[in-house]
């Protein structure tokens, strides 16, 4: 397939016939990512496609044979890593992965052997407040691989060798800015978000020229005095902070819109200095890819004070509503509600709880929550609220299967005591978490997790597979009728996508924290995931 693509390129560039030049062996132009479904053997962007569906069209591994799945190879970094949440890109025989905090490694997809590795020079003291210095992966475009670093640089590497092509300073790490999310590559640009809400930074979304690293636009995600939305900050937005963009987004090329979630306002639990809705925190933003202008927004949790970021990758899908085909976005929010929006307009279509929640009596006709009384963080022993600070689900990717029309999500069934404390935003570098309070977990064994299958257009529960504890594991669904995910105790497993029946499992010794993905090489389908220090590829014998 690769050869055919190269010959095609030669035909388009007759000058090459006169002066023969080698084809670039690593080359992923935008069109390949845009049409990712036409090469299911690859995995070209964080969520598998611009729609972030975490869905693979491969079906060699299926309900009938998945019980025979075995480890094909494992890779472990030369130094132990912490907080491995890295999801890979697979293209042209190479699997690109990160090793926290910010190393990028290229592996041979057949053997797991390391081809190259690049480690940026990080400062002696990387500031990581309210987060850990992890990296959820890279993006690829043309002949370059892109990574955001723990000290908030965006670096472009040559995909073949790992050599640095360019390195730009995105934001000031000393002020608490860091990068944990994978970049999103589209057209000729690299879109990146930023982390640091607990350091009270002001969030933004950036786009950089893929070839040069020149910044093309920046969208601030909180207003300042005089900006639209400033009226939603009781202090006039003079110090508006939060709404960070620390995960990955999605893209609809027809609408030319990027969809990206935003995090909590700061301080998290003490809202005394920020009355109002606090736009654009805890929201989904639809952003013009060319200009960076905000086309629409939908705020899931106005005036949020439970740390319920909305940074899960938004899942785009097309399905009929009342008999009419619609462009939709599905979002299982940390606040415990599953939302379906029209992604052209941002109009609310439906929203239902997908876990136990006590903070809202429901959603109104526009999707705005109707607050329940006495669910705010309080002084002293605190207030018991469901879901907990980690939400119904946090950042881990859900999955949508066009085959079943189901939305699969790993849920947390737990609450927490939310305690209000003191917390002021102060000028200068942050001295610690600007949380304005704390939380206390439920004792005993009152919490559990589950993989839940929701009807994507309604949020209605179709089935669940219960887990011993709430898990922080993303989900993959495949055309083989399977759902892959994991437990907090280290199980990795396959479920029947129609029924939730377990069909295969393995204890990996550590929970997975990265997106399970699938690729194919030499006619064999692989399932890939990470756990602890291990990067593991499974296949059928």
């Amino acid at each position: 397939m690769k050869t055919a693509r190269c010959l095609c390129a030669l035909a388009l560039w007759p000058v090459f016939l006169l002066t023969p030049r080698p084809c670039f062996s690593q080359n992923v132009p935008y069109a390949r990512i845009l049409h990712a479904q036409s090469e299911p053997e690859s995995w070209l962007t964080y969520g598998g496609s611009y729609f972030s569906q975490q869905y693979s069209l491969l079906k060699q591994i299926n309900r009938q044979n998945v019980s025979g799945l075995k480890i094909a190879w494992m890779y472990q970094p030369s130094r132990p890593v912490a907080n491995l949440e890295s999801s890979p890109i697979v293209a042209d025989g190479v699997l690109y992965i990160t090793e926290p905090p910010s190393t990028v490694t290229a592996l041979d997809v057949r053997s797991g052997l390391k081809i190259w590795s690049y480690t940026p020079a990080l400062p002696e003291h990387v500031v990581s407040i309210g987060l850990y210095a992890t990296s959820r992966g890279v993006a690829i475009l043309d002949d370059m691989v892109y990574v955001g670093t723990a000290d908030a640089h965006l670096i472009a590497l040559d995909a073949k060798t790992g050599a640095v092509r360019w390195n730009v300073h995105v934001a000031d790490n000393v002020m608490g800015y860091a990068m944990t999310g994978p970049p999103l590559a589209l057209k000729d640009r690299i879109v990146v978000g930023i982390a640091g809400s607990e350091a009270a930074v002001r969030g933004f979304l950036d786009a950089y020229d893929a070839k040069t690293g020149k910044r093309l636009w920046r969208l601030w995600t909180t207003p300042r005095v005089g900006d639209p939305g400033a009226e939603t900050w009781g202090n006039g937005a003079a110090e508006s902070a939060g709404a960070t963009t620390w995960n990955n987004g999605s893209y609809d090329s027809d609408l030319n819109l990027i969809y990206w979630g935003t995090g909590n306002p700061a301080p998290d639990f003490n809202d005394d200095d920020r009355p109002g809705d606090n736009l654009y925190t805890c929201s989904l933003l639809a952003v013009d890819a060319d200009t960076g202008r905000l086309k629409w927004y939908f705020q899931f949790s106005p005036h949020e004070d439970h740390d319920w970021d909305s940074d899960e990758p938004p899942v785009l899908f097309n399905a009929p509503i009342d008999g009419k085909p619609r462009r939709l976005v599905g979002f299982a929010n940390r606040n415990g509600f599953y939302y379906v929006l029209d992604r052209s307009t941002g109009k609310f279509i439906t929203g239902v709880p997908f876990v136990k929640q006590t903070w809202a009596k429901g959603l109104d006709a526009n999707g705005r929550p109707i607050p329940a009384p006495n669910q705010e963080p309080t002084l002293g022993a605190g207030t018991l609220v469901y879901p907990s600070i980690t939400g119904g689900v946090d950042w881990t990717s859900p999955s949508y299967s066009p085959q079943t029309g189901l939305f699969y999500v790993s849920v947390h069934e737990t609450g927490a005591y939310f305690i209000k404390g003191t917390g002021k935003i102060e000028p200068g570098p942050p001295k610690g978490i600007v949380g304005g309070g704390g939380i206390r977990a439920l004792a005993g064994e009152q919490s559990y997790g589950a993989i839940r299958a929701l009807e994507a257009t309604t949020g209605k529960l179709r089935w669940q597979f219960k887990l011993l504890a709430p898990a922080w594991v993303p989900v993959l669904s495949t055309a083989g009728g399977l759902v892959f995910s994991g437990s907090d105790e280290g199980n990795f497993f396959a479920l029947d996508a129609e029924t939730g029946k377990p069909l295969w499992d393995i204890q990996m010794g550590h929970p997975a924290r990265s997106n399970p993905i699938s690729y194919e090489v030499d006619g064999k389908q692989y399932i890939f995931v990470t756990a602890g220090n291990a990067y593991i590829a499974f296949t059928l014998p």
């Binding site: 927490a416 949380g435 704390g438 206390r440 064994e445 922080w472």
Partner: protein, 240 residues
């Protein structure tokens, strides 16, 4: 480590600003683990090092944000964060040692390398458990199970939970849960044998907090003997 009340107060303020979001305002665990009494378990130097340099699993390095004095104050404050219902030692430890031996506790528990291995080792139990907890467990074993962990990410997990499993072919095993994941459970029976089960092969899995493999000493020991035994167990601790 001796700190003035002013230094301890500063340590408390630093703890609440920099540590409590993850470890809870009382150190009992939130996003991060319960760290009550951790200087007793790891030692002051190790805890200082962990605060300075961080550790895998999410603990950030604070050496760039806190100076050595602040870290020392936080560690000093951590030394004061113990179970609030610890209670007082009223008995005599030497007499308690005799109660321990006469009650054949060593049949099931190891202290300093000596004893049976059905129950948990008690060599340093005084570090992690207070007098009230010890007394309650001697009289009412299984009713106040310690938390193996309380992460906000994943919730709590109890240690020494008593379970009863019934297999689909009718076999029943009772005992202490040793390990469990979403697919398997491992149970230690009263004879100390491990039994591993795949959950889909079970007809029933009953978790029975309040029960224990350990026999209650209620009615077998006098109040003063219990107090002496508590004093002996509470004395089993290393130095911070």
């Amino acid at each position: 480590m001796q700190l003035s009340p002013e230094q301890l107060q500063k340590g408390k303020q630093t703890f609440e600003a920099s540590c409590s979001t993850c470890h809870g305002l009382d150190g009992a665990g939130a996003m991060g683990p319960n760290i009550q009494g951790i200087p007793f378990r790891l030692g002051v130097d190790s805890v200082t090092s962990v605060i300075k340099n961080g550790m895998p699993g999410g603990m950030p390095a604070f050496s760039g944000q806190l100076d050595s004095q602040q870290i020392q104050q936080v560690v000093g404050y951590l030394l004061t964060l113990t179970r609030k219902d610890d209670g007082q030692v009223t008995g005599d430890a030497a007499a308690g040692k005799q109660v321990y031996d006469a009650s054949h506790c060593a049949g099931c528990h190891i202290i300093s390398g000596e004893g049976g291995n059905i129950g948990p080792e008690l060599t340093t139990v005084g570090q992690s458990r207070g007098p009230n907890y010890l007394r309650n467990t001697i009289l009412y074993p299984g009713t106040d199970l310690p938390q193996a962990r309380v992460f906000l990410e994943t919730g709590g997990r109890l240690q020494f939970l008593f379970v009863r499993v019934t297999t689909k072919d009718g076999r029943t095993v009772e005992g202490t849960r040793v390990a469990e994941d979403s697919f398997y459970i491992v149970v230690e029976d009263a004879q100390g044998r491990f039994h591993s089960f795949r959950k889909e092969q079970l007809r029933a899995l009953e978790k029975q907090p309040g029960k224990s493999t350990m026999p209650s000493m209620k009615g077998k020991l006098s109040d003063s003997q219990v107090n002496d035994l508590v004093a002996y167990l509470a004395s089993l601790k290393g130095s911070p």
